[in-house]
Symmetry: C2
Subunit: 350 residues, 2 copies
DNA sequence: CTGAAAGCGCTTACAG
DNA sequence: CTGAAAGCGCTTACAG
C-alpha cells in the first residue's frame, strides 16, 4: 500500500501538505495542490482509514442495531417472515449510508453485551462509530437508556424514543390505517375486523388507533369484538385468528391486517374457508412489501415509504453527527396502494 | 474512555503487561495477570479497536460484498423478491461473523469503485479488512479478477471461483434437483416441466442438469420443449412462462421451478388457469425460504441449508485468515422438503 | 502557504 | 517475567 509519505515524496512536498490537500484545507497553494493530486492519482493512493480514524478520534462508520429480541445476532431476527419489511428497509438504509461515504458496521459482540448494555455502548465507542441507527427497538430494550445517556448521535427507526442526542423516524401509521379504512368504508363495508398484532406494540397500536378513529369520523359504532390481537405479527397467527373469526362472524366482509405477512395468512384462511377474495371478503395488508404485488390476489396494502424512511434516518443521523441538525423526529407519510384484494361487500352478505 | 495506561496505573504495572495479559501472552506472572484483570473489570476497560487495528495492520473485520448488478449498493439488489433467499442466508452469515468476534462491514464506496475494481480492493485494504465474503457474484464481475490477484482471503458464496487465497461454498444444486425429480417420478409423473431461469446462470444450470440426469437415470426420454428458461428468477416471469406452458401443453402434470419465488408465480398461474395444486398439477420450488411453508398450498421445495452455508462460509474464511486452512471449496448438501404442492398425477390426465 | 513535531491508543521486539 | 521505547499511518496545532 502506498502511504502519504510516498505521495509527499513524489509531489515534492511534506506529508502535512498531502494531508491538507486531501482534506480540503484552504491553506494549500494551487501549485502544490496540483502536484499532490497528480501524485495521488498516479500512485492510486487511498488514505489509511484506520490511521485516520485513530487520529480523528472518530471513524466514518455508522453502527446498525436491530430489534430487541433475546437473539444474539442482529440480522438473525430477520429470518422470520414477518420481518421482510425490515429487510427491505435495511436495503434503503444501506444504500444511503454507503453513498454518503460512511461504512455500515454490524459490531461483533458476545451475547452478554446486549444484556449488559454498558458493554454494548463501550463496543460502539471502542469502534469509534460516529453514530448509531437502531431499527425497531422496543422502548424497554436495555440498550435504550444507556444510548440515551451517551453523547453518541442515535436515530431510532420505527420507534418513538428521544433524547438530547437521539431522535426517531417512523411512518404515519395512524393515517395509513385511516386511509385503509376510508377505502373500505367508501366501498360500503361496515363490519370490518382488524388483526392488530400484539397489544403493547407501537405499530400495531397506532394502526388500531387509525382504525378506531375512522369509525368515529364516519359516525359508525364499531364492534370491539372485531378487534383481534395476535401474539406477534406471524402469518400463522393471522391464519388462526382469521379462521376463528370467519367461523363465528358471518357478517364480517373485510379484514385489515397490520402487516402484509399477516395479510397472507388471512388470504390463506379465506381460501380454505371457501371464500373468494375480494368478491366475498376484502383484505388489506400493511407495509406494502415487494411480495404484496404477487399474492393471490395481489394485496391492497398501506405502503410504508422505505426509501424515505431509510434515507431520512441516515440523513438525519449524519446531520446530527455533523452538528448541523437538531435531534428532531421525522414522520413519514404512508399511502394506500389499491390492488385486487378489496372490492365492495357482497350484496347478499356472505 | 478508559485506556490501557489507566488500567496499568491502577494495576501497578506497565502498559506492556496490560497488553500482554489481554492478548493471552504466556509471559505474564499470575500475580500481575490477576491485578490487571481486576483493574480491567473495575474500570470496564475495552481496548480501542481502531488503535489495535492500526498497530496490528489488520482489523477483525470481514467485508461483505454482494451481487454483480450495476447497482451502487450492496443490499439494494435484495429488495427484489427473488432475493429473499439471500437475505435469509445473510442472516446466517451475520450471526456467525459476529459471534466469531469479527465485525461485518459494508464498505462505503462511490459507484465508480465497483466499476474500477482496483479501487474497490484499495477500499478494502484501506479498511484493513481481514477477509471478504462475496455473495452471489457473477464470474464475470470485474471485482473477481482483482480479488483473485490479491493476497486477501476471500470466500465466494454461491459461486464457483477459486484462487490461491480464494475459494467458494455452495449448495449441491444438482443433487437437489435430482431429489425433486425422484420424488415426482416416484409419484408417477412423467411429463415434468422445468422453469430453469437464465441459461447462463450457475444455479439454474446446475438444477437443470439434475433434472436431466434424473430422466436419464430413470431411462426416460424427456421432451426438451418442457425446459423453459426465463430471463431472471422473477415471480412474474415464472407466472408468464407457466401460463404459456399450460395453454399449449395439456399433458404437463408437474412443474419444477428453480426458486421458491418462481414457484409462487407458478402457483398463481395454476390458480388462475383453474387448476388445483396438487390434485391437477404438482409444483416444486427451490431454496425453501421461510415463506415456502406459508404459500397456498404449502410448497414442496428443495432446501438449501442456510445455516451450513453461512457458517461454513464464515468459518472457512476465518480459518484462512488464521492460516489454519487451505482454500478448499465446500459443497453443502440439499434436502427435499415435501409439503402439500405435490401429489400423484391425476388419473385421467388434466 | 509550508514543514517539523507531537500525538491518537495500542502492540511488540528489545533489553534486562 | 517486565518495562521503556519504537512504531502503526495519519492529522493538526505550532512556528515560521
Amino acid at each position: 500500500m502506498t502511504k502519504s509519505v510516498d505521495v509527499a515524496r513524489m509531489a515534492g512536498v511534506s506529508r502535512s501538505t498531502v494531508s491538507r490537500t486531501l482534506n480540503g484545507s484552504p491553506h494549500v497553494s494551487p501549485d502544490a495542490r496540483e502536484r499532490v493530486l497528480a501524485a495521488v492519482a498516479r500512485m492510486e493512493y487511498k488514505p489509511d482509514i484506520v490511521a485516520r480514524s485513530l487520529v480523528r478520534q472518530q471513524s466514518r462508520t455508522i453502527a446498525l442495531g436491530l430489534f430487541s429480541e433475546a437473539e444474539d445476532q442482529a440480522l438473525t431476527a430477520l429470518s422470520h417472515p414477518q420481518r421482510y419489511f425490515y429487510v427491505e428497509l435495511l436495503t434503503s438504509i444501506e444504500g444511503r449510508t454507503v453513498t454518503a461515504g460512511y461504512d455500515l458496521v454490524l459490531p461483533a459482540h458476545r451475547s452478554s453485551d446486549t444484556n449488559r448494555p454498558a458493554d454494548y455502548l463501550h463496543g460502539l465507542r471502542a469502534r469509534r462509530v460516529a453514530g448509531a441507527l437502531m431499527v425497531a427497538l422496543d422502548v424497554a430494550d436495555p440498550r435504550v437508556q444507556v444510548l440515551l445517556d451517551a453523547a453518541l448521535p442515535v436515530v431510532f427507526v420505527d420507534a418513538m424514543i428521544q433524547g438530547a442526542h437521539a431522535t426517531y423516524i417512523k411512518s404515519d401509521n395512524i393515517d395509513g390505517a385511516r386511509q385503509a379504512m376510508d377505502h373500505l368504508l367508501h366501498l360500503g363495508h361496515r363490519s370490518i375486523a382488524i388483526l392488530c398484532g400484539p397489544p403493547q406494540s407501537l405499530t400495531g397500536g397506532e394502526r388500531l388507533l387509525g382504525y378506531q378513529q375512522a369509525f368515529a369520523r364516519w359516525g359508525i359504532q364499531h364492534d370491539p369484538n372485531l378487534v383481534r390481537p395476535t401474539a406477534h405479527f406471524e402469518i400463522e397467527e393471522a391464519y388462526e385468528a382469521t379462521r376463528a373469526l370467519l367461523a363465528t362472524r358471518r357478517d364480517v366482509t373485510a379484514i385489515v391486517a397490520v402487516s402484509d405477512m399477516m395479510g397472507i395468512g388471512v388470504l390463506r384462511a379465506a381460501y380454505e374457508h371457501g371464500l373468494r377474495v375480494p368478491d366475498d371478503l376484502s383484505v388489506v395488508g400493511f407495509d406494502d412489501i415487494d411480495l404484496a404485488a404477487y399474492t393471490t390476489p395481489p394485496l391492497t396494502s398501506v405502503r410504508q415509504d422505505r426509501a424515505a424512511l431509510g434515507q431520512g434516518a441516515v440523513d438525519r443521523l449524519i446531520a446530527m453527527i455533523d452538528g448541523v441538525s437538531e435531534a428532531l423526529p421525522l414522520i413519514v407519510p404512508t399511502q394506500l396502494i389499491v390492488r385486487k384484494s378489496t372490492a365492495p361487500p357482497p350484496a347478499a352478505g356472505r
